[in-house]
């Protein structure tokens, strides 16, 4: 279990103080897989490094597996090597002067949980079997492929059976196909071991598929913490809507208690609390929720012309121009629309999101 309360971190640069973390609150339950998602520079890696103790926070409390690891007010700071963690780095950080066995055995021989010599081999083999690298013990670590190196790093991080597993973009240095394959395996492994995991990534697909819980971060703050399907279906802010998945955005303004006017007409949709009449809002709808009708738009209130088509195989993204406004529409790959064609456009009212 990880509990973070009011975590703050700032760096003093030549241009003054830069706030990297502006008060992070987060709880990761026992055996939960929590993903920190955000663009580069949002503070996700800094948060992870604070949990690892590789970075010293300036304020806030941090609790790992029931013990306080950091608390500036109580003058507690547990150094990295004393924290019950395992960590996988972006660059895999495999020690080049050791072979696979030595890399994985090192934490058991020199680390925090040293065990009897004759038990080391068994533990190492077990960890390597878990990542499907058994049989490669004697290979020089640098001879392995990128994916294999990352597996060694994973075995090394889990061989001591730590309470907490930290991963800093472990898949981002791998190529696309391998990344997807490793993603599936990574999930299996962490579930099999049942370790509490904190995982950092800027790849939303990775976040949505891996996490039991996703925290979207921006500018040193957590904007939304929710299960992946909720983050995707109900982004709680404009930034989350922009960052997670594709979205169409339309400017509008509120004309009544449940009424928004926009270039597509006046829509009867509820507005968020605290947004008063006459204030401007941003409407958002996902491309896959926009429906097209080839019957020339006679039956629908809206009609537009298809201006571009981006064929992706399993799907296609069409651009539809409605009264000078351009909307993206995602359709199955075999839908038959062509550029220039007129089409009716339908957007179910419950698919709209409204942001102040």
């Amino acid at each position: 279990m990880i509990r973070i309360r009011g975590l703050k971190k700032w760096f003093d640069s030549r241009r003054g103080r830069v706030e990297a973390l502006r008060g992070i609150d987060l709880e990761v339950a026992e055996k939960e897989f929590c993903v920190l998602l955000g663009p580069s520079g949002c503070g996700k890696t800094t948060t992870l490094r604070c949990v690892a103790g590789l970075e010293k926070p300036d304020a806030g409390e941090l609790e790992i597996a029931g013990t306080i690891a950091n608390s500036p007010t109580r003058r507690i700071y547990v150094p990295t090597e004393k924290r019950d963690i395992g960590m996988v780095f972006q660059s895999s950080a495999i020690w080049p002067h050791m072979n696979v066995f030595q890399n994985v055995a090192f934490p058991l021989i020199r680390g925090r949980k040293q065990i009897a010599k004759d038990l080391v081999a068994e533990k190492v083999h077990h960890a390597l079997r878990l990542v499907q690298l058994d049989g490669l013990e004697d290979r020089p670590a640098t001879d392995l492929s990128g994916g294999q190196q990352q597996r060694v790093a994973m075995a090394r991080a889990m061989v001591t059976e730590p309470k907490i597993l930290l991963m800093d973009e472990p898949l981002s240095n791998l190529d696309a196909r391998l990344r997807e394959q490793m993603r599936v395996e990574l999930k299996k492994i962490t579930k099999a071991v049942g370790v509490t995991t904190l995982y950092v990534t800027h790849d939303q697909a990775e976040a949505l598929s891996l996490g039991d819980k996703v925290c979207v971060m921006y500018n040193g703050e957590i904007l939304q913490t929710a299960p992946p399907h909720e983050v995707y279906a109900k982004p709680n802010s404009l930034f989350v809507a922009q960052f997670v998945g594709e979205m169409n955005f339309i400017k509008g303004h509120v004309t009544g208690p449940s009424q928004v006017e926009c270039p597509l007409g006046t829509l009867p949709i509820p507005v968020p609390l605290g947004v008063s009449v006459a204030s401007s809002v941003t409407l958002a709808v996902r491309p896959e929720h926009v429906k097209l009708n080839c019957a020339d738009g006679l039956l629908d209130s809206l009609s537009g012309a298809i201006t571009s088509k981006n064929y992706l195989g399993d799907a296609q993204i069409l651009e539809v121009n409605i009264n000078g406004l351009s909307l993206l529409v995602k359709l199955p790959g075999d839908s038959e629309f062509s550029i220039g064609q007129k089409a009716g456009v339908m957007i179910p009212l419950d698919r709209w999101h409204v942001y102040p």
Binding site: E81, R83, G86, M87, Q90, A93, W95, F106
Partner: protein, 561 residues
């Protein structure tokens, strides 16, 4: 192509001919230019004498000791300065840079003033205090020599190793911390083994340099009758009495040359092997510096201990000696005698010529070296010339040639073929020797600088219709100017402090400041040496300080890569 060929020929000539001369003189007897048949007489004379093997053993011990001393200080310092939150890092960097530029012979002399069995201040003090009838400590032995030479090599070792440390992925260390390994264990079992190829490379490089150095062996070794190869080569060509014997020098030099070249080969191999270990991270994450906690002050004390030996103590001893009418311990009486008269009388001993000559060197040598280096690097890094690899190797070769051999070879050339090469006894021959030596350093830095300037910048210039010289002058040069300026200053300062080649090629007409100090010491004018030495050191501090303050925008001033 014609231009590339011409440059290749020039470099081959500059590096190859002095070496050829060393081989040639080892096969001839008599005075340079006397001709005569080729003979192995010199080799027989040298290698049948049992004394030679004693000298080889001394050289080996001295070089090994030097490497040991240098690494004992350099390795921890590199770790402390690149990875930890050691205080005063900036100051330590600057002082190390100053340390390189203080001539080794000045440091040696200062330590003699402190530890000489007869006049040394420490021994005077110990005799007074404990009533000892023998000196407490003496510098006149191989450990003493290795100590001073080793201390002088620390900055070079430091800057070479620091480069290796910076390319090391910091998450290799962090992975160990998260596995629960202590900082000390991590340093011992992760940092040291991973940088071992780099450390081995530095060891070979230092060993190669230690075999060739001349200043410490001459100043301490001669009076103590501890001879090493370089000292023998020097005395063969510059005997205190009698005629120079270039043949013997050549025969001694041959073994040094073979050792130097094979070590250089070994060094290149090690450096290539080391590259296998460098892992480049996905992003430029600045790792958090390791907090030293309560060890901070112990670490600072270690750095200060080193800097004391390298800079502070030698400088203070020189200042103290330069202010007194005779060398003595601090006392009320001594303080009452303090005056600047040693400084005022410097020009009673020497005229302005050496100062003018040094100024000429400081301007001509870096200009010529950087000019050649830029051209060579441009060919090596930027063009598709077929022999660019060999060009680079030849430019690197002077690193492997002991400077004393290069000087002796050039001297022989100047004497034996003075009709074709009429520069013997002029400042020009010293300038040529310096240029050849530092072209290896110059091309290393210009290579690095050129690689940083992306090829496409040049190609964009060409596509827009600019000629090759215009692209070089208007696009490449402005981009690399800062790096080149940095190397120019550095080579200028190296020329300023150089004494071995200046001595080996020296006559009464081409004296420079460094050889003047050497002469003063030889004549026993200790206090004038101290005064002149203080002035020399202050000049270094002034130059480095001015550059740090004034030109910090133009890039790091220092020994570079």
């Amino acid at each position: 192509m014609l231009f590339a060929g011409g440059l290749m020929a020039l470099l081959l000539f500059m590096v190859g001919v002095p070496l050829l001369m060393v081989v040639l003189m080892s096969l001839r007897t008599g005075f340079p230019g006397e001709g005569g048949p080729l003979t192995l007489a010199n080799f027989i004379a040298v290698y049948s004498a049992p004394g030679t093997y004693k000298v080889l053993l001394n050289t080996l011990l001295f070089a090994s000791g030097t490497v040991l001393v240098a690494l004992v200080f350099a390795v921890p310092l590199v770790w402390l300065l690149t990875r930890t939150d050691l205080p005063l890092k900036g100051t330590i960097y600057v002082l190390m840079t100053v340390g390189i530029l203080i001539p080794v012979f000045l440091r040696t002399i200062a330590w003699i003033l402190l530890l000489s069995p007869r006049i040394g201040l420490v021994n005077q003090w110990a005799t007074q205090l404990f009533g000892l009838d023998h000196p407490l400590i003496s510098l006149y032995n191989i450990p003493g020599m290795a100590f001073i030479q080793g201390v002088s090599f620390v900055p070079s070792a430091f800057f070479m190793l620091a480069a290796a440390y910076r390319t090391m992925d910091p998450s290799l260390e962090e992975a160990a911390y998260t596995a629960g390994v202590s900082k000390f264990q991590t340093f011992l079992r992760i940092n040291v083994p991973i940088t071992l190829p780099a450390i081995a490379g530095v060891m070979v490089y230092l060993f190669m340099s230690a075999i060739a150095v001349f200043e410490v062996p001459a100043i301490i070794g001669f009076p103590a009758r501890i001879l090493v190869l370089s000292a023998l080569i020097f005395t063969s060509t510059n005997p205190p009495a009698g005629l120079p014997d270039y043949g013997l020098a050549g025969a001694y030099g041959a073994v040094m040359l073979v050792a130097g070249l094979s070590l250089a080969f070994f060094y290149v191999r090690l450096v290539q092997h080391g590259k296998k270990y460098t892992v480049i991270t996905g992003r430029g994450y600045r790792p958090r510096q390791i907090s030293l906690g309560r060890w901070k002050w112990a670490a600072l004390a270690f750095a200060m201990l080193y800097l004391s030996m390298e800079v502070f103590i030698p400088f203070l001893v020189l200042v103290w000696a330069s202010l007194l009418p005779h060398l003595q311990l601090p006392s009320a009486e001594a303080f009452s005698q303090i005056s600047l008269s040693n400084y005022e009388t410097i020009f009673d001993y020497v005229n302005a010529l050496p100062f003018i000559n040094t100024a000429i060197l400081m301007f001509a040598v870096p200009t010529a070296t950087m000019f050649l280096s830029v051209l060579v690097s441009w060919l090596v890094v930027r063009t598709q010339v077929s022999f660019r690899g060999s060009l680079d190797t030849i430019a690197f070769l002077p690193h492997a040639i002991p400077s004393i051999l290069l000087a002796v070879g050039l001297g022989y050339l100047g004497l034996a073929y003075r009709n074709f090469f009429p520069v013997y006894g002029t400042i020009a021959i010293i300038a040529i020797a310096h240029t050849i030596t530092w072209i290896a350093y110059g091309t290393r830095t210009t290579n690095g600088v050129m690689i940083q300037v992306h090829r496409e910048l040049e190609e964009a210039g060409k596509v827009s219709g600019a000629s090759t010289p215009r692209v070089l002058g208007r696009i490449v040069l402005p981009l690399v100017a800062a790096g080149i300026f940095n190397s120019w200053i550095w080579i200028s300062m190296l020329s300023y402090r150089e004494v071995t080649m200046a001595l080996a090629l020296g006559t009464r007409k081409n004296l420079v400041v460094s050889t003047i100090v050497w002469q003063f010491w030889g004549n026993g004018w200790v206090l004038q040496v101290a005064a002149l030495g203080v002035v020399l050191v202050l000049f270094v501090v002034l130059v480095v300080g001015a550059l740090k303050i004034g030109f910090s925008r133009l890039g790091e001033v220092g020994p570079g890569s």
